[in-house]
Symmetry: C2
Subunit: 171 residues, 2 copies
């Protein structure tokens, strides 16, 4: 379970930090306060960019903590400003990458119970594939979509980011 | 690799079909042609809903076919209309769910080469976690975001859809 969660989540959180950086550069060209980007949303009753970034951080942190059965760092208040959000992204990357790989050994079969399940439970595997990963990518992609929607020039390569490649044996 | 790809992808493709159905109902209340929804996009140089649905279908189909090393059904032209898109969604679900689980046995270590890798390759595992799944969720979430952006009332539960639950042993 470690390999299907920690490396891709850390990668995408780093990508997300890069999109915010591009948003800050975009705001500078428009002579606008970059913090205003955090208020942007795709529809009045959808969460704004600030909350999407918080959601990406929280979902990555909680997914990995629950799978590895370790305590997640407690964050009482969500980060509000761009510097706070970027610091939180770095903090969550460090947290999930710092969990020992061995702690994920029994993660696939681990029983996971969440408040909204009301006495029901799921396995670590189903929790990750049916809820944790889709939920994380929901927030990351919506953050990307909001930045694109307001005019920040991001590309699909920026979304995918680094890939682990080696010279092809067969071609 | 089967369990981390086929069930969640099939689930999300079914969810996506449900969002389109809700879009059709929404269009009826506005007395507008539902096909117009397929032209909606979040920014002039982003792909519209039609292409996002095609992208979700293609990325799911190709991810599973490459991991299992089986031939994917060929689709020369992208589906254009809502009925065509919904038929394609059902077809891709049937295709990926029809691949034998055993075909995924060596998928994690399988060498995957793609045109854009230019002589380089990746493993099935890295391909799925670093490219295939994020790319799939990119298209699914952007389709969801476009429908929400034009006013279709979807909720996060509709995004996540069905979860596999069992009575909790420990509470």
């Amino acid at each position: 379970m470690h390999h299907t969660t920690v490396p891709p989540l850390a990668q995408m959180l780093r990508n997300l930090d890069g999109w915010l950086e591009q948003g800050i550069a975009f705001a500078a060209t428009r002579e606008m306060d970059p913090e205003l980007l955090l208020e942007a949303r795709l529809y009045p009753d959808m969460f704004p960019l600030r909350r999407q970034v918080q959601g990406a951080c929280d979902s990555a942190k909680l997914l990995c903590a629950r799978l590895a059965d370790v305590e997640a760092p407690r964050h009482e208040d969500g980060p509000q400003t761009l510097p706070e959000l970027r610091a939180r992204l770095a903090e969550v990357v460090a947290f999930i990458e710092g969990i020992e790989v061995a702690a994920f050994e029994d993660a696939a079969a681990r029983e996971i119970t969440l408040p909204f399940m009301q006495g029901m439970a799921t396995t670590g595997h189903c929790y990750a594939t049916e809820f944790g990963l889709p939920n994380f990518y929901f927030h990351a992609t919506t953050a990307y979509a909001i930045l694109r929607h307001v005019g920040v020039k991001l590309g699909k390569r920026t979304y995918i980011g680094h890939m682990t490649l080696h010279p092809a044996r067969s071609t």
